[in-house]
C-alpha cells in the first residue's frame, strides 16, 4: 500500500511539474500576474510529492518489502538499517528518484529565495525548471520505476546491496554530487529565462552567481568525497581513475568552474555576456551528458548502472530537446547581446578569459577521451579501443600547470587594467622564496623528480602570491586590510589556496608514495619509508551480514607504536562476494595504508602496504575549495532587499535587447 502511495505521489509530482512548466509561462505571455505567481506553490507541490514518494520507497527498504523488485535487488533483511536507507540510492532507479528529489528541492529553493526578482523573471525561471523536471519524472516513471512489484511470486530474501556500496562514503557521496549536478540547472534556468525574455543585461549574472557558487561547491564536495571513497574502498590506494563515470562528474565541474569566474566578470564589468550564457548552458548540458553516459550503457565502467538501451534512447532524446533547444535559442538571441566593454591586456578580465579558455579546453579534452572509443569504433567499422589514464595524464597535466601559474599571477590583477609594476614588480623575490621553499623540501625528502619540482614550485608560488596579496591588500600594513575584505574575496582566496593544497598533495602522493607487497606470517616484520610493521596474525570476525578474516598489524616508528591496523577480507553472505577492506593510519603528513591479500599456505597472507605522503591534502584542498564556494554567498550584496529595483534601473541603463 505504501509503495503504491509512493508511486502515486510520483505521478502527482509529474503533474505538478507539467503545470509548473506551463502555467507561469502562460501568465507571462498573457500578462496575468496571478498566473505568474502560481510558480511558488506548484514548486512546493512538486517538492512535497517527490519527498512523499522518496519516503515511501525508503519505507519499503526499512520494512524489507521484497515484493518490490528494486528493494529485492538491492537490500537484504540482514543489512544494517542505515545501509537500508542509503540503499534507496544504491542503484539506478532509486538514485534517479534521489536526483528528482534534489531537482525539486532546488526548484523550491529558487521559488522561496527569489523574492527580489520581478514576477515576470521568477515565473520564467520556474517554468524552465519545471520543464526540465518533466523529462526527469517521465524518465523515472516510464523507464526506471523503482516501485515496480514482482507479484504474486516474490523472493523471501533480498539479493543485498553491492558490498562496495555498504559504506559511509556511499551514504553521502551521491546526494552531494547530485545537489551539485542538478544545482547547475539553476544558472541554466536563469540563462534561458534571460534569453527568452530578451532581457540580456548583466543582471542575470548577479542573480545566478550565488546559486552557481553553491551548486559548484556541492559538486566539488561530491567529487572530493568520491575520490576519497574510491581510495579507501576499492582497496588499492588509487584516488582517481579517469573512469567514464568520474569524467562525467569532472566535466561539468570544469565548466562550472569556468562559469563561476566568468559570471564574476559579467556581473562586475558586463563583459563576456554571451559567453557566460553559453557556459551556463554548457555546465548543465555536461551534467545531463554525464547522466546519459552513466545510465545508458553507451560506455562501460566500474560505476556504470545497469545497461538498458531503452533508457539510453530516452536520455538521448531528452538531451536533444533540452540542450539542442537551448543552443538554438542561444544561436538566435545571443547576437543581440554583444556589447563593447574594453579591457587592457593585463587585467582581471584577461586572466578570467584565459582561465575560461583553459578550463573549457580541458573539459573538451576529457570529453574527447571519454567518447573517443565511440568515435574510433565508428571510423574503424566496429573495432574497439579503450582510452586509459595515460591519455588523460598526458593531456590534462600540461593544461593544469599554466592554469595554476596564471592563478598565481592573477592574485594582483585588477579590473580594466593592471599596471605591469603591480603584477610583476615583486615576482622575482616571490619566485625566489618559492624556489627556496621547494628546494628545502626536495633536500629534506631527497626527491629529485622534475614533475615534483615543477608542480610544487608553481603551487608554492601560488600560495606565496596569495599570502602577499593578503598582506598588502589595500596598501595596508600587516593583515589589517585582509580582515576588511568581503566574503567574495575570502571565497576566492580559500578556493585558490585549496587548488595549491590539492596540487601539492597530488604531486607528492604520485611521486613519493612507496608500496610493498609481501608475504607475511604471524610475527613477521617489515620496514617501509621509516615505518616498522609487525604482522600479528589473522582472526575471524563476524559482521551483521558478512564474515571476515581480520589481519592485525602493528605500525611503529623508531620503536614507538603508532597504531594498530585491522585490514579485513570480507565475505558477504547474501551475495557471496569477497571484499577487501583496507585499514589506514591517517595523519596530516602521510597515510599508512594496509590491505590484506590472499591467504597463502600455512597462516601466511599476502599483504600490501602503501605509505602515501600528503595524500590527505588532495581532499583537504577539495574541501577548502568547497568552503570557498560557500563563503561567497555570505556576501551582503546578494541579500539586499531593494535589489530588484536596483536591477531594474540598471537594466534600463544597460544595453537593452529589444524583443523582436
Amino acid at each position: 500500500m505504501i509503495i503504491e502511495l509512493g508511486h502515486f505521489a510520483l505521478i502527482l509530482a509529474l503533474a505538478m511539474s507539467c503545470c509548473l512548466a506551463v502555467l507561469p509561462g502562460f501568465g507571462v505571455s498573457l500578462g496575468r500576474p496571478a498566473l505568474m505567481r502560481t510558480g511558488g506553490s506548484l514548486a512546493a507541490g512538486m517538492f512535497v510529492f517527490t519527498l512523499v514518494s522518496f519516503v515511501c520507497l525508503a519505507q519499503g527498504f526499512i520494512g524489507d518489502d521484497f515484493s518490490v523488485a528494486y528493494v529485492a535487488r538491492n537490500s537484504n533483511s540482514a543489512l544494517p538499517v542505515y545501509y537500508k536507507i542509503s540503499a534507496v540510492w544504491g542503484a539506478h532507479e532509486g538514485s534517479f528518484l534521489l536526483w528528482c528529489l534534489v531537482m525539486s528541492s532546488w526548484t523550491l529553493a529558487v521559488a522561496m529565495f527569489s523574492q527580489q526578482l520581478t514576477d515576470d523573471m521568477r515565473a520564467r525561471v520556474l517554468a524552465v525548471l519545471g520543464s526540465v523536471s518533466i523529462g526527469f519524472y517521465l524518465f523515472l516513471i516510464f523507464t526506471s520505476n523503482p516501485f515496480d512489484r514482482t507479484l504474486p511470486f516474490f523472493p523471501s530474501e533480498g539479493a543485498d546491496l553491492n558490498p562496495l556500496l555498504q559504506d559511509f562514503g556511499l551514504i553521502v557521496h551521491p546526494p552531494l554530487l547530485y545537489i551539485g549536478y542538478v544545482g547547475l540547472s539553476v544558472p541554466f534556468a536563469f540563462a534561458i529565462a534571460s534569453l527568452s525574455s530578451g532581457q540580456l543585461d548583466a543582471a542575470w549574472a548577479r542573480w545566478s552567481r550565488p546559486w552557481t557558487n553553491v551548486a559548484w561547491a556541492f559538486l566539488t564536495l561530491g567529487i572530493t568525497l568520491g575520490s576519497w571513497w574510491a581510495y579507501y574502498e576499492l582497496g588499492w590506494g588509487g584516488w582517481w581513475f579517469w573512469d567514464a563515470v568520474e569524467n562525467a562528474s569532472f566535466m561539468p565541474w570544469l565548466i562550472a568552474t569556468a562559469l563561476v569566474h566568468s559570471l564574476a566578470a559579467t556581473e562586475k564589468r558586463g563583459v563576456f555576456r554571451s559567453w557566460t550564457v553559453l557556459l551556463a548552458i554548457f555546465a548543465f548540458s555536461f551534467s545531463l551528458l554525464g547522466a546519459f553516459l552513466v545510465r545508458s550503457g553507451v560506455l562501460t565502467s566500474v560505476h556504470a548502472f545497469a545497461v538498458d538501451p531503452e533508457r539510453g534512447v530516452f536520455i538521448l532524446w531528452y538531451l536533444i530537446i533540452v540542450i539542442g533547444g537551448s543552443l538554438l535559442l542561444y544561436g538566435i538571441r545571443a547576437g543581440q547581446m554583444s556589447v563593447n566593454v574594453g579591457f587592457g591586456w593585463l587585467s582581471r578580465e584577461s586572466f578570467i578569459l584565459a582561465n575560461n579558455l583553459i578550463l573549457t579546453v580541458s573539459a573538451i579534452t576529457v570529453l574527447l577521451g571519454t567518447i573517443y572509443p565511440l568515435i574510433y569504433e565508428w571510423f574503424s567499422s566496429g573495432q574497439k579501443i579503450s582510452v586509459g589514464p595515460p591519455y588523460f595524464n598526458m593531456v590534462f597535466v600540461p593544461l593544469m600547470l599554466p592554469l595554476i601559474a596564471l592563478m598565481a599571477l592573477s592574485s594582483f590583477s585588477r579590473w580594466r587594467r593592471t599596471a605591469t609594476e603591480v603584477l610583476f614588480g615583486r615576482q622575482p623575490i616571490r619566485l625566489l622564496i618559492s624556489g627556496l621553499v621547494c628546494l628545502i623540501f626536495c633536500l629534506l625528502t631527497s626527491t629529485w623528480n622534475l614533475w615534483f619540482q615543477v608542480v610544487s614550485l608553481i603551487s608554492i608560488w601560488l600560495i606565496v602570491n596569495l599570502l602577499a596579496d593578503a598582506r598588502y591588500r589595500q596598501g595596508g600594513r600587516g593583515f589589517a586590510g585582509f580582515l576588511k575584505q568581503t566574503p567574495s574575496y575570502y571565497g576566492m582566496w580559500l578556493g585558490h589556496i585549496g587548488i595549491a593544497v590539492s596540487a601539492l598533495g597530488i604531486v607528492t602522493t604520485v611521486v613519493m608514495s612507496e608500496e610493498l607487497d609481501l608475504l607475511m606470517s604471524p610475527g613477521d616484520k617489515t620496514q617501509i619509508a621509516g615505518y616498522d610493521l609487525r604482522f600479528e596474525g589473522v582472526e575471524r570476525v563476524n559482521g551483521p551480514n558478512y564474515s571476515a578474516d581480520r589481519g592485525i598489524i602493528a605500525v611503529s616508528r623508531q620503536g614507538r607504536l603508532i597504531e594498530m591496523l585491522y585490514p579485513e577480507k570480507r565475505l558477504y553472505s547474501a551475495s557471496q562476494s569477497v571484499m577487501t577492506e583496507a585499514d589506514i593510519s591517517v595523519s596530516f603528513w602521510r597515510d599508512v595504508y594496509v590491505a590484506l591479500g590472499e591467504p597463502i599456505g600455512n597462516q601466511a597472507w599476502s599483504v600490501r602496504v602503501h605509505v602515501k605522503p600528503l595524500v590527505r591534502w588532495i581532499w583537504l584542498g577539495g574541501i577548502l575549495i568547497a568552503i570557498g564556494g560557500f563563503t561567497t554567498i555570505l556576501d551582503k550584496r546578494y541579500r539586499r532587499l531593494k535589489m530588484a529595483r536596483q536591477l531594474q534601473s540598471r537594466a534600463e541603463t544597460s544595453v537593452q535587447a529589444s524583443l523582436a
Binding site: 562496495l164 574510491a230 576499492l234 582497496g235 588499492w236 588509487g238 581513475f241 573512469d243 554571451s274 553559453l278 548552458i281 554548457f282 546519459f292 545508458s296 550503457g297 553507451v298 560506455l299 562501460t300 566500474v302 545497461v307 538501451p309 539510453g312 534512447v313 538521448l316 538531451l319 536533444i320 540542450i323 539542442g324 543552443l327 538554438l328 542561444y330 544561436g331 538566435i332 545571443a334 547576437g335 554583444s338 567518447i371 572509443p373 565511440l374 568515435i375 569504433e377 565508428w378 566496429g382 573495432q383 574497439k384 579501443i385 579503450s386 586509459g388 589514464p389 607487497d517 551475495s575 557471496q576 562476494s577 569477497v578 591479500g597 590472499e598 597463502i600 599476502s606 600490501r608 523582436a660
Partner: protein
C-alpha cells in the same frame, strides 16, 4: 531579426556530438559480442609470453579444452575486483583460464600477478592491443568462453562474479562439455 551565424556554432558542435552518441549507441550493445565474432574461431595471432618475449603463444595453444580467455590490465580497477573469482575458478573448476594482458606494462603486470596471485595457465602480452582489437575488446575486464576447438562461444563484458559464473558460464560450460562428450 538578424541572427548572427557565429552563435549557432555551439549548436552545430552539439549536433555532431549527438550524432556520435547516437551512432555509438546504435552500433553496440556493450554486453554483446559483435555478431561476426560469435561462433567463429579465435583470430590467428602470435604474441609474446608475458615476461618472456623470447617465447610466443599462438591461438593453437588455447585449443584442447574449454577455456576462459580473460582480458585484464593493471590499470583496470574492476580487474582487481574480479580477481578472486578467477582465482577460485582456476582452483576449483575443470576449465583452463588464459589471460590477455591488455595495453599494459610488463613489469607492472608481473608485479600485479605476484601481488594478487596468478590464476592464468598462460598469459599473452598484448601490449599494443592488436589481439584485443581483433577480438573486438572494448575495455577490461572482458571474458571470452572458448570451446575445445578454439571457437568463441560467449563474451562477457565486465566483472565475472559469482552470479555471472553461476547463471551464465557454468551452464554453458556444462553444455559444451556434454556436446564434446556426446560426439
Amino acid at each position: 531579426m538578424i541572427v548572427d551565424k557565429r552563435f549557432l556554432v555551439p549548436l552545430l558542435g552539439f549536433m555532431l556530438l549527438v550524432a556520435v552518441l547516437a551512432l555509438g549507441f546504435k552500433l553496440r550493445d556493450p554486453h554483446l559480442l559483435p555478431s561476426q565474432m560469435l561462433n567463429r574461431s579465435l583470430p590467428a595471432f602470435s604474441l609474446p609470453r608475458l615476461g618472456d618475449p623470447s617465447k610466443t603463444w599462438s591461438e593453437k595453444d588455447l585449443y584442447g579444452k574449454v577455456s576462459l580467455l580473460n582480458v585484464w590490465a593493471t590499470w583496470c580497477p574492476s580487474c582487481v575486483q574480479e580477481h578472486p573469482q578467477l582465482m577460485r575458478i582456476s582452483r576449483e573448476e575443470d576449465i583452463s583460464v588464459f589471460g590477455i594482458n591488455y595495453n599494459d606494462d610488463t613489469a607492472k603486470a608481473l608485479a600485479w600477478l605476484q601481488r594478487y596471485g596468478n590464476p592464468f595457465q598462460l598469459n599473452i602480452a598484448d601490449h599494443d592491443g592488436q589481439l584485443a582489437i581483433d577480438l573486438g575488446v572494448y575495455g577490461a575486464p572482458e571474458t571470452f568462453l572458448v570451446d575445445a576447438k578454439g571457437v568463441i562461444r560467449y563474451r562477457h563484458v565486465g566483472v565475472v562474479d559469482e552470479h555471472v559464473w553461476a547463471d551464465i558460464f557454468a551452464p554453458m560450460i556444462a553444455e559444451l562439455n556434454r556436446q564434446a562428450g556426446g560426439s
